[in-house]
């Protein structure tokens, strides 16, 4: 069993959903990201999403755009992000790590080489925002071969027949983008989310996690109950940014993020 399926099997036994924090790799530097990964896992993050910075993040709102810019300034690139993952895996063989980003940095690294090295470093899943199903055939097959899950994105406006196509040979879990919009801007209400889950459950037996627009502990709790997990990204980054001095981390940075994370974890476990 993969780390992802182990994780969701354990959550099912505990009868609760996953809390999935997101960090932008190297925001604002390698050390902070590396320490945050360890601290988040230790604190009880069920899975962690690691954003791979891109110069042109067309699906992201201002918070993640700025995070990506800081990260690129700090020297983020795919080889170094994979090093960070491998380093994290020295002490943690349990918490699933999902890389989320855009296609071009992967293609320039070499798609096949990237899939090999990501699997070797200890990455469990990939979310490639600008790679729709139709363009993903080769990557999907090759990722599967290497034990990596290519996580499909679904949206409120995805028609039922398209959902079935996207999900028929999916693995790992399904990511539900709960709003038609960019990251960290607005939120879906619970009714909309419930309706969406009914549609999605008809198309897949995989766990479904909800992301885009989840910022408060109450929203995380609702999303993790209605679906199988909640991704919190921009809200955590916004908290983190309040601790920066001229875009650099301070001693308050990690405690502040972890404090916010704890509140989210308490909410979904209550």
């Amino acid at each position: 069993m993969s780390r992802i399926s182990n994780c969701f099997a354990a959550l099912k036994a505990e009868k609760r959903g996953a809390l999935i924090p997101y960090i932008e790799a190297f925001d604002p530097d390698y050390e902070t990201s590396r320490k945050l990964l360890a601290a988040m896992a230790a604190e009880g993050a069920d899975l962690i999403e690691i954003g791979v910075p891109f110069s042109d993040p067309a699906a992201d709102g201002p918070t993640i755009q700025l995070a990506a810019r800081r990260a690129l300034k700090a020297g983020a690139n795919l080889p170094r992000i994979l090093e960070m993952v491998a380093d994290f895996r020295k002490d943690n063989d349990r918490t699933p790590l999902i890389l989320m980003g855009y296609l071009n940095p992967i293609e320039q690294f070499g798609t096949e080489r990237f899939l090999q090295e990501a699997a070797k470093a200890g990455v469990d899943g990939l979310i490639i925002v600008d790679l729709p199903y139709e363009e993903a055939r080769e990557i999907r097959a090759s990722a599967k071969e290497k034990g990596l899950d290519l996580i499909p994105l679904t949206a409120p406006n995805t028609p039922d027949d398209r959902l079935r196509m996207l999900l028929k040979d999916a693995s790992g879990f399904v990511y539900y983008v709960s709003i038609t919009g960019i990251t960290g801007t607005r939120s879906a209400n619970e009714e909309q989310l419930k309706e969406a889950m009914q549609r999605l459950r008809r198309a897949t037996d995989l766990p479904i996690v909800t992301g885009f627009g989840i910022s408060t502990p109450a929203q995380a709790k609702a999303a993790s109950h209605i679906s199988d997990g909640a991704v919190v990204a921009s809200a955590l980054i916004k908290e983190m940014v309040t601790t920066f001095e001229e875009d650099h981390a301070t001693e308050k940075t990690i405690p502040t993020v972890i404090h916010s994370l704890k509140k989210l974890i308490e909410a979904i476990r209550s």
């Binding site: 296609l103 600008d130 729709p132 994105l153 983008v177």
Partner: protein
């Protein structure tokens, strides 16, 4: 490289059904946009096959845009260069002053058919923004134009024009505040307003079906030029020259000639301060294939796939990518992609103004500059068509500054 369902002997039937020109093009967008892309493709295919749509478009192109645009035999310029005869395709004479309105008129009629009430568009120099704001005024549609903050600053007259036309101009501060950042922001707007909004892309780039659709609407340039040159000279030209940012004026004039092997095609990229200066916008000369803004194509990028900022004296060429069909035409060798520096374009700008009384856009001056290079190497009975994609009034302040003149 074309798929088997295409006629092997024609280069004009692309893209394939999934929107690819060889390995280029395609549809690389977030899942939220996929239903919209599929809807757009269907709506366009229906319109394309509907004679009523073409009739309506022809009416607006003739009576509002002012088509056909003339093909002018530039005898004085030809004599001065002492070689091939130069013919200028006068897209600068269209309403709003550039070729942009050809495409915008087609897409706005499509948007109306689709029942969309809000239009968003990206713009660099502001020509596409002005064209879009113009048709939104004509049809009473809400119009939001995304423009890089840097471009807003250096293209003030066009920003004011858009305001006059009733459009809202939103400056984009992300990145370097130029066209690529405006494109990102327009896509974000579209994702957030999927119900009522139409994204009116200004060039032959972006996710399928935009490269094909914009090319089809711009092909009126080449279709007219073909008739006109035959009428005036009794034959096809020996070469056609057009400037390339995203590449819509070039694709528009090239496409009807792609299967005419005797016609050499030259796409002129902006070499900025020089091909090895690092300050350029020549995606084919100095880029490599990658994925940005919904398509795979040649891009200026660093070794890790981060997109680089482009530079050109001409804001309309200041883009780190190029339409995917151009990438394919480059790889198969049908079109020669060459480049012209800021300085060469400035010189050509002045030469054409002096010799023919035509002030070209700095974008088009790149095409004129390449003609200036090759015409003297050709016999006097050879014929070159140069696409004058826009008029240069908007560039007068820029040119004055480079010539050390304070206005």
């Amino acid at each position: 490289m074309t798929n088997s369902h295409l006629k092997a002997n024609s280069l004009r039937t692309g893209p394939d059904l999934s929107g690819h020109f060889g390995p280029y093009g395609g549809r690389f967008v977030a899942e939220t946009l996929m239903p919209l892309m599929i809807e757009l493709e269907k709506a366009y295919e229906m319109a394309r096959r509907d004679p009523e749509f073409h009739k309506e478009l022809e009416h607006y192109l003739r009576d509002y845009v002012g088509r056909p645009s003339p093909l002018w035999h530039a005898q004085h310029l030809s004599d001065a260069l002492g070689g091939a005869q130069l013919y200028l395709k006068r897209e600068d004479l269209n309403h709003t002053g550039s070729h942009k309105l050809n495409n915008v008129m087609g897409q706005i009629l499509l948007a109306r058919r689709m029942g969309k009430t809000r239009i968003v568009a990206e713009t660099g120099a502001g020509q596409h923004g002005v064209a879009t704001a113009t048709v939104c005024a004509l049809f009473g549609l809400k119009c939001v134009i995304y423009m890089g903050a840097t471009d807003v600053e250096r293209q003030k007259p066009n920003v004011f024009r858009m305001h006059l036309l009733g459009a809202e101009v939103r400056p984009v501060t992300a990145g370097a505040g130029t066209l690529k950042d405006a494109m990102n922001e327009a896509m974000r707007d579209w994702v957030a307003h999927v119900e009522d909004t139409y994204f009116l892309v200004g060039t032959v780039a972006g996710p399928h079906p935009y490269p094909k659709m914009v090319r089809d609407f711009q092909s009126v340039i080449g279709t007219e030029a073909r008739e006109q040159i035959r009428h005036q000279t009794g034959r096809l030209p020996d070469g056609i020259i057009a400037a390339i940012g995203g590449g819509s004026n070039a694709m528009g004039i090239f496409h009807p000639f792609l299967d005419d092997d005797s016609v050499a095609l030259y796409g002129v990229e902006a070499a900025g301060l020089g091909l090895d200066s690092g300050k350029l916008a020549a995606s084919i000369s100095r880029g490599r294939p990658g994925v940005l803004h919904g398509n795979r194509t040649y891009l200026l990028q660093d070794q890790y796939g981060q997109i680089e900022e482009a530079h050109s004296i001409s804001a309309g060429l200041d883009y780190p990518g190029i339409g995917p069909e151009h990438s394919w035409l480059n790889d198969i060798g049908r079109v020669s992609y060459v480049s012209i520096t800021d300085q060469e374009a400035l010189d050509a700008f002045q030469l054409l103004t002096h010799k023919e009384g035509i002030i070209p856009a700095l974008e088009s001056a790149h095409a004129v500059a390449y003609a200036q290079k090759i015409a003297p190497t050709m016999d006097k009975d050879k014929i070159l068509i140069v696409n004058i994609s826009g008029r240069g009034d908007k560039d007068v302040p820029t040119v004055a500054a480079h010539l050390g003149v304070t206005l």
